[in-house]
């Protein structure tokens, strides 16, 4: 039998197809093993193999009655390379009567193959990837029925390989989609949070976002920004829901709070304006009303510290970590959810941050996390933890919270945003000039 001429471009495409299949898995799995054992039984032959042929090697994918190492060899001398040369079955009734076949080590050496029959495995693109082979150690003939069955088996191998390729492609596509969604979520998240907090003279500010899920955008938000004169506004909150709708709502809430604060920075008025905007946003819509919880505050330099006026709308209490030790809740009692209630009540409360004091704002992902006992951590649990940790400043405070979240592990089931503000313990900043302040 003469080796047919090989079109080199077509051969390159064929080898590429072979490599796609070869990259899928390791040989020796159940489906191909069943094909070889069936082929051997149909021919009443001791040996059957499934081989694929790349540019240099004949590679064994399954072998029955033959060790795998004997099943594979150099393409140039292998009997199994010839089946890919043409469509239809190849039969060598006696290998010793065929000079080319006699060069195969399986013929000249172990196991001493004398009879060989093969049907090509034809991929969907028409490329012959390899073959299903049957061998015997004595010369013989093959019946038409047997050869037809061999072709059917080769077609089954094709089907199996196509299926695996399709499955691998699906997995790869899914992985790509998931990576894309994660990238989008992270990008969106970045646009919802300020890239960096501004430098406020005499104040240290730090913020962190602890996402619960990599591919689900949460609705936590925060910001710190200049108001009129030397006052600063800050807020932190959480919108109802997750995903793209929550992200859009978060963006609306953030810009509304900043705009409302420029118009009138009174904290309760800012929250009331946000409430009105959210109600308007929902007017005429049938879906669940958008709502959020938030804390909005105004910082005003006062001596070597700041006065803080804080309004709350249905949000967990802020915590003041005092320089002298001890943690106090700073909670405007009775503030209600924003955007969902008729005539909601917003409340505000004042406190002072002196040198060495820090203020922590957080979302309920932190306080609703479950501790080892199964109970919610709660504001009291957080306050007790911070009292023991006694963080020195805003950055230290965030480190403490980070450690706490890490230690809660599986108990955490939601995103957590934290914003920490602190006044340096011993202020080296220039004295404040505050013409607007009394």
């Amino acid at each position: 039998m003469k080796e047919p001429d090989i079109d080199s471009a077509d051969e390159a495409r064929r080898v590429a197809a072979v490599n796609r299949y070869l990259s899928l898995d390791a040989p020796g799995d159940g489906a191909l093993d069943r094909v070889t054992s069936l082929a051997a039984r149909i021919f009443h032959a001791p040996i059957a193999t499934v081989t694929v042929v790349d540019d240099e090697w004949v590679r064994c994918r399954a072998a029955y009655g033959l060790p795998t190492r004997l099943c594979q060899g150099r393409r140039a001398t292998s009997l199994c390379a010839r089946a890919i040369g043409h469509d239809g079955v190849s039969v060598v009734p006696d290998t010793l009567a065929d000079p080319h076949a006699a060069a195969d080590p399986m013929v000249s050496g172990e196991p001493g193959v004398r009879f060989y029959a093969a049907a090509p495995i034809v991929a969907s693109g028409g490329h012959r990837l390899g073959s299903v082979n049957v061998m015997d150690t004595r010369p013989r003939q093959a019946g038409v029925e047997e050869l037809d069955a061999l072709q059917d088996l080769a077609a089954m191998v094709t089907g199996e390989l196509e299926l695996r390729l399709a499955a691998a492609r699906t997995v790869a596509t899914e992985r790509e989609l998931r990576a894309g969604a994660e990238r989008l979520a992270r990008t969106l998240q970045r646009t919802l949070l300020p890239p960096a907090l501004p430098q406020v003279p005499g104040l240290r500010a730090a913020a962190a976002y602890h996402p619960f899920s990599a591919d689900e955008v949460g609705g936590d938000f925060y910001d710190l920004f200049p108001l009129d004169g030397n006052r600063w506004g800050f807020f932190l909150g959480d919108v109802c829901g997750k995903g793209a709708d929550a992200a859009a709502l978060t963006s609306l809430v953030r810009y509304t709070l900043r705009a409302a604060a420029v118009y009138d920075p009174d904290p309760c008025t800012v929250l009331a304006n946000l409430d009105a905007v959210l109600h308007q946003e929902h007017a005429g819509s049938q879906g669940p009303p958008p709502y959020c919880t938030a804390v909005f505050g105004v910082l005003e330099p006062d001596g070597d510290g700041f006065t803080v006026t804080l309004a709350g709308g249905g949000h967990p209490p802020a915590l003041a970590v005092r320089a002298a030790g001890g943690v106090e809740t700073v909670h405007p009692e009775g503030g209600q959810l924003i955007g969902i209630l008729r005539d909601p009540h917003f409340a505000q409360v004042g406190t002072r941050l002196n040198a060495g004091d820090a203020l922590l704002l957080y979302t309920d992902g932190l306080t609703e996390a479950r501790t080892g006992t199964g109970a919610m951590l709660d504001g009291e649990g957080l306050a007790a933890y911070l009292a023991a940790a006694a963080p020195a400043d805003a950055d230290d405070l965030l480190v403490s919270v980070h450690k706490l979240i890490a230690s809660l592990g599986e108990g955490v089931s939601d995103d957590t945003a934290v914003l920490a503000l602190s006044v340096p313990a011993r202020s080296t900043a220039a004295p404040f000039r505050s013409p607007g302040a009394t």
Partner: protein, 118 residues
């Protein structure tokens, strides 16, 4: 945390004046629309009372809370009164933080809520 306990809602009339919705299971993003539908099916006359019994509630997320707020507004529009019964300690705590304790009348169990609305 995955919540897949499902939600069952049972509606019964306790008297001509008071109806009871027993909400059991997880009230979340997926199941909340069913409570909304159930509420649409409750006819409230002026002066009537509706008790939502939450004693068998296993989970309530922000969407669930918004449906409870909607129920309150629905009752208010009808000139009726809504009472919640059997809130567990965690949910009661969340309601306090959200300022919803000022909105809802809440009772330890359905019997006490029904008695208050009679």
């Amino acid at each position: 945390m995955r919540h897949d306990h499902g939600l069952t809602i049972t509606h019964r009339s306790h008297s001509t004046r008071v109806q009871v919705l027993v909400v059991a299971g997880d009230l979340d993003h997926h199941t909340a629309p069913r409570l909304r539908e159930a509420l649409d099916g409750v006819r409230l006359e002026r002066g009537a009372g509706l008790v939502i019994d939450l004693s068998a509630l296993t989970f309530c997320d922000s969407t669930g809370i918004s449906v409870l707020v909607a129920a309150h507004q629905y009752a208010q529009n009808a000139g009726a009164v809504l009472a919640l019964a059997g809130l567990d300690a965690d949910l009661a705590h969340v309601f306090r933080i959200m300022g919803l304790d000022r909105l809802f009348s809440s009772y330890d169990d359905a019997e006490k809520a029904i008695a208050a609305l009679q």
